[in-house]
C-alpha cells in the first residue's frame, strides 16, 4: 500500500492507543536512561497522566460515527469506545495503587518496568476492544497476556510471585493454543480473518461438516477465552496467581484483564458465531449452544462462591469472588438479551469500582500487617472507621445489596435472563442462590471488621493516593447504586445501544 492510502486513513480514531503506546515507549526509554538513584515512582505518575490523557481523548471521540481503518482491522464503534472507557478508568485506578505499592523487599530497580508493562497490557486491551480482525484481536490478547505474565512475577525475589507467574504462563500458553486452534478452524471455513467479512460470509454456510467444525471451534475458543475471564473450567489458575502476584497486578488481572476477556468474548461470539446458522438452519449456532454456555456460567458461579467459603487468605478469597462474578456476567452473555451489551458494560463498570476499592483497602491493611489473613481485618472499625465503612459498602455492593451499584448490575443481568423467551429460570435461580451463599463470606469479612477485636490498635499509614482511590470507588458504587440512570442515560445517549456493532 502506498503512502496516500496510508495517510488517507483517519488515524485520529486511534489516538488513545497512540497515547498509551507513546507513553509506554517514553517510560521505557526514561527508565533506561534515567540515573539509577532517581526514584522511579515519578514514572508511575507519568504513566498515570498518560492514561488520563488517553481517557480524555476517548471522551473526545464520543459520539463520532463508527469508522474503521487499515482494511477494517481496526474499528472504532460505540462498543469500542464504551469499553475503552472502562479499561482506561480501571487502569488509572490500578496505576494509582501501583504508585503507592511497596512490597517488603524493595522493587526499586525494576519499578520502571512495573509501570510501563501496565501500559503495554492496557494497550493490548485497548486494541482488542476495537479490533475488527482475528489477527488484531489475537495480538491484543497476547500483548495483554505477555505483559501480565511478567507483571505477575515482577517481585523477582519473592517465591510466590515467581510461582504465580509460572503458573500463569503455562496456563496462559495452553489457553492461547486452544483459542488459536479454534480460530484457525474459523478462518479455514470462512477463508478470512476479518470479522466483517466473516459476518457477511458465515450465514451462507449450509454444509453440516463445516458447521460441526465451527461448533468445535466455538467450544475451543470459548474454553480458551474462559481462561482470560477466569471462568470454569479454566478458572483454577486464578486463585494461585491472584494470591502470589503483587497486589496492584492482582487488581489489574481481576479488573482490566477480565474486562478485556469479556470484550473479546462478546466480539467473537456476537460477530462470528451469532451469524453461523445451526444445522437445522432455523436459528443461529450461538443460540442453539446457549445451554452449554449456561452450564459454564452455572459451574463458574457455584465453584467461585462455594470454594470462597473456606478461604482464609483475603486475596485468595477475592480471587474466588471474582470467579463468581465472571459467572454472573456469563449469565448475561448466555441470555443474549437484546440489551446484553448495556448489561455487561454496566456490570463490568460496577464490578470495576467495587473490586478496585476492595483491593485498595486490602493493600493498606495487608501492607501494614504484612500478612494476608482475613483476621487482619479484625476490629478494623476501631482502628480506622473510614476503611471499615468503605470496605463494608463495597462488600455489600459485591453481595448485591440494594443501594449499591452491584445490586443494580445484578438486577440488570437478572432481568436480561428473564426477559428473553424462553426465560432462563434455572440460571436465574442459580444466580440468586449462589448470591445468597456469597453473603456468608462477604459478611464473614464484615463480622471480622465489626464484631472481632483487633490485635493491634495502631492506626494505618493511609497514603492519600490510595485514599483517593477508595473514595472514588465508594462514591461511584453508591452513586451508581442510588442514581443508576446517570450511567444508563449516558449509555443510551452516547452509544444508542450499540446498533453499529458488527452482527
Amino acid at each position: 500500500m502506498d503512502l496516500e492510502t496510508l495517510l488517507s486513513y483517519h488515524w485520529s480514531i486511534m489516538t488513545p492507543e497512540f497515547i498509551i503506546l507513546g507513553f509506554a515507549t517514553l517510560l521505557s526509554l526514561l527508565d533506561l536512561f534515567m540515573p539509577r538513584k532517581i526514584n522511579r515512582r515519578i514514572l508511575g505518575w507519568l504513566a498515570l497522566t498518560g492514561i488520563l490523557a488517553a481517557t480524555i481523548s476517548v471522551f473526545t471521540l464520543l459520539g463520532s460515527a463508527p469508522e474503521s481503518i487499515l482494511y477494517d482491522t481496526f474499528r472504532l464503534d460505540s462498543f469500542a469506545i464504551a469499553f475503552k472507557l472502562l479499561l482506561l478508568i480501571g487502569a488509572a485506578l490500578v496505576m494509582m495503587l501501583a504508585v503507592s505499592y511497596e512490597p517488603r523487599e524493595r522493587i526499586d530497580e525494576y519499578r520502571g518496568e512495573f509501570y510501563y508493562l501496565f501500559l503495554a497490557g492496557l494497550l493490548g486491551a485497548l486494541i482488542m476492544s476495537s479490533s475488527g480482525d482475528l489477527i488484531t484481536l489475537f495480538i491484543g490478547l497476547e500483548l495483554l497476556s505477555l505483559s501480565s505474565y511478567i507483571l505477575a512475577g515482577i517481585r523477582k525475589k519473592h517465591l510466590p510471585s515467581n510461582e504465580s507467574a509460572m503458573k500463569y504462563v503455562i496456563n496462559g500458553g495452553i489457553s492461547t493454543a486452544i483459542t488459536l486452534f479454534g480460530m484457525s478452524y474459523v478462518y479455514g471455513i470462512s477463508g478470512t480473518t476479518n470479522l466483517k467479512e466473516m459476518a457477511a460470509f458465515l450465514p451462507t454456510i449450509t454444509n453440516n461438516q463445516h458447521l460441526y467444525l465451527l461448533a468445535l471451534a466455538f467450544f475451543m475458543i470459548l474454553i480458551g477465552l474462559s481462561f482470560k475471564i477466569a471462568a470454569a473450567p479454566f478458572h483454577m489458575w486464578a486463585p494461585d496467581v491472584y494470591e502470589g502476584a503483587p497486589l496492584p497486578v492482582t487488581a489489574f488481572l481481576s479488573v482490566v484483564s477480565k474486562t478485556a476477556g469479556f470484550i473479546i468474548i462478546l466480539r467473537i461470539l456476537l460477530s462470528i458465531f451469532f451469524n453461523v446458522p445451526d444445522q437445522t438452519g432455523t436459528t443461529s449456532l450461538m443460540l442453539s449452544l446457549q445451554d452449554y454456555l449456561a452450564v459454564i456460567a452455572g459451574a463458574t458461579m457455584i465453584i467461585g462462591n462455594v470454594i470462597a467459603l473456606r478461604q482464609k487468605n483475603i486475596k485468595r478469597m477475592f480471587a474466588y469472588s471474582s470467579i463468581a462474578h465472571a459467572g454472573y456476567l456469563l449469565v448475561a452473555v448466555t441470555a443474549m438479551s437484546p440489551f446484553l451489551v448495556e448489561t455487561t458494560w454496566f456490570y463490568l463498570g460496577a464490578y470495576l469500582f467495587m473490586t478496585l476499592g476492595v483491593f485498595a483497602i486490602i493493600q493498606i491493611v495487608t501492607a501494614s500487617a504484612d500478612s494476608e489473613s482475613i483476621n487482619e481485618f479484625g476490629g478494623l472499625y476501631r482502628r480506622s472507621p473510614f476503611l471499615a465503612v468503605s470496605m463494608s459498602i463495597l462488600l455489600l455492593s459485591l453481595a448485591g445489596i440494594p443501594g449499591t451499584a452491584g445490586f443494580i448490575g445484578k438486577l440488570n443481568i437478572f432481568m436480561g435472563a428473564l426477559a428473553t423467551d424462553p426465560a432462563h429460570y434455572i440460571l436465574a435461580s442459580l444466580l440468586i442462590a449462589t448470591t445468597v451463599i456469597s453473603y456468608i463470606y462477604y459478611f464473614g469479612v464484615m463480622v471480622q471488621i465489626f464484631f472481632r477485636q483487633a490485635e493491634s490498635t495502631k492506626k494505618f499509614p493511609l497514603s492519600p493516593v490510595v485514599g483517593i482511590v477508595i473514595i472514588i470507588c465508594v462514591a461511584a458504587t453508591v452513586i451508581l447504586g442510588i442514581f443508576p440512570n446517570i450511567a444508563f442515560d449516558f449509555l443510551h445517549e452516547q452509544f444508542s445501544s450499540f446498533k453499529d456493532f458488527i452482527q
Partner: protein
Amino acid sequence: MMFPYYLSLLVFSPLIGILVLVFIPKVKEPFIKLIGFLATLPALILTVIAYIAHRNGAELSELAEKVGWMQFVNPEMAGKIYSIDYELGVDGFSLLMLMLTALLSTLAAIASIHIKKEWKGYFMLFLLLEIGMLGVFAAENLILFFIFFEITLIPTFFLIGKWGYFEKEKAAFKFLVYNGLGSAILLIVIMVLYARTGTSNIEAIMSIMASDSDHLVVSAGTKMGLLIALVVAFGVKLPIFPLHSWMVEVHVQAPPSIVMLHAGILLKIGAYGLIKFGMGIFPDQFQSLAVWLAVLGVINLLYGAFLAFIQTDFKKVLAYSSISHMGVVLIGLGALNAAGIQGAIFQVVSHGLIAALLFLLVSIVHERYGTSDMAKISGLAKSMPIAAGILLTAALASLGIPGMSGFISEFMAFLGLFKEMPVLAAIGCLGIIMTAAYLLRAVLSITFGEAKRENTEVNDVAPLEAIPAAILVGLIVLIGVYPNILSGSLTSTIETILLGMGG
C-alpha cells in the same frame, strides 16, 4: 391535605437522626440515646397526622408519589419500557402498618436504654432499620418494595450480631441466610413479573394480571408457580411451619429492643406481602391455594403452641408463641372472606403490639435478673409487682382474653374460617386452649410462687420503662374494647381484595 413528598419525608425522616449521629462523639451516651429517640418521632407524628386526616375522609391517593428512577433499556429499542420508577403510596392497610412501625420504633428506641455499648452504631443501624421498614409499607413498586425489604436485612444482621446475647453471631448468620433466601425467591418472582409485564408498579401489574384472564402475559402454570414462590418467600419471614427455625434463634439471641421490632414489624412484612401481593396479584390462584394456607395456618398454630408448652426459656416460649400466632394470620387469609382477612390484618397489628409489649418486659426482667430462664425466676409479683402485673396483662392479651386486641383478631379469623372449613377450624380451636395452657404455665411460673431470695432485692419498673408499656397496654385495650377504630380504615382495602377475588 398534605404537602408534596409527604411519604418520602415520612420514610426517610430517621435519616436526619443518622446524619446527626455521625457528628456526635461516640462517648456521649445519654445524648446519643436522646437523639436516637427523637429521630423516631417525626415519622410517628406524620403517620398519625395522615391517619387522622384519613379518618376524617381525606383521600389517601393524594399521598402517592412518582419520580422516574432508572431506565434499563433504550426506550426506542425494546418493545416494553423496562423502566423503574420511585413510587410511594399508601392504602388503609399500609397506613396502619406505617403507624404501627413508627410507634413501635419509638417505643423500641425508648426500650433501648438497656443497650450497654456502642450506642452510636446501634442507633444509626436502628434508624436505618426503621427507614427500611417504613419504606416496605410505603412502596408502591415491587422493586422498590424489594429494595427496602433488603435494606431491613443488613441493620438487623448487625444489630443481632453485635448487641445480641451469647450465640449472637450464629443467630445473625442464620437470620441472614434464611431471609436472604427468602428475599432471593421474592426477587425471582418480582423480576419474572417485571420481565413479563414490563412494569413494576403494583397497581399496573394488578390490572394487567386482572385483564390477563386467558393467561397471555403469564401462563397459568407460571402464575401458580409464582404464587407458591411468593408464599415461600414470605413464609420465611412470617414464618410458616418448616421455615421457622431461624426466627426462634433470633428471638432468643437478639437484644429485646430489636426483637420488639422484629416480632412486631419484620415478621408482619410477610403477612403484608401475602395480602398485598399474593392476594392482589394472583387472586384466582390464591383462591385455589387458600385451603392449603388454612391448613398451614392450623399447623403453625398447633405446632407453635405445643412446642411453646415445653420450653424452659421464656424467650423461647414467646418465640414459639409468635409462630403460633402467625398461624392465626394464615388461618384468616385461608378463610378468604371479609371476616378472615380482617382477622388476619387485626392479628398482624395486635400481635405486633402484644409481642412488642412482651419483649419489652423481657428486656426489663432480663435487665434485673440477667436471665430469662423460667426455672431461675419466680415470685416476680412480690419482687416487682408492676412488672408482674403488666406481664400478666400481656400474656392474657396474647391468649385472647376479650377486651384486648388479641381476642378480636382471633375471633374474626376463626369466624372467617368456620364459614369456609368448619372442621379444620374446630381443630384449630385446640390451639386456643393450648395457648392458654403454655402462656399461663410460663407466666405464672415467673410471676407467681415464692420469690427466690436472690430475686427479692430488685427494683420495680422505672418510669422510663413504664411509659412504653403503658402506651402499648392502652392501645391493646383500646382495640380490644372498640375494634371499629381499626376496621374503619380497612374496609376499602378488604373490599378491593375481595373484588379481585371476584366475590
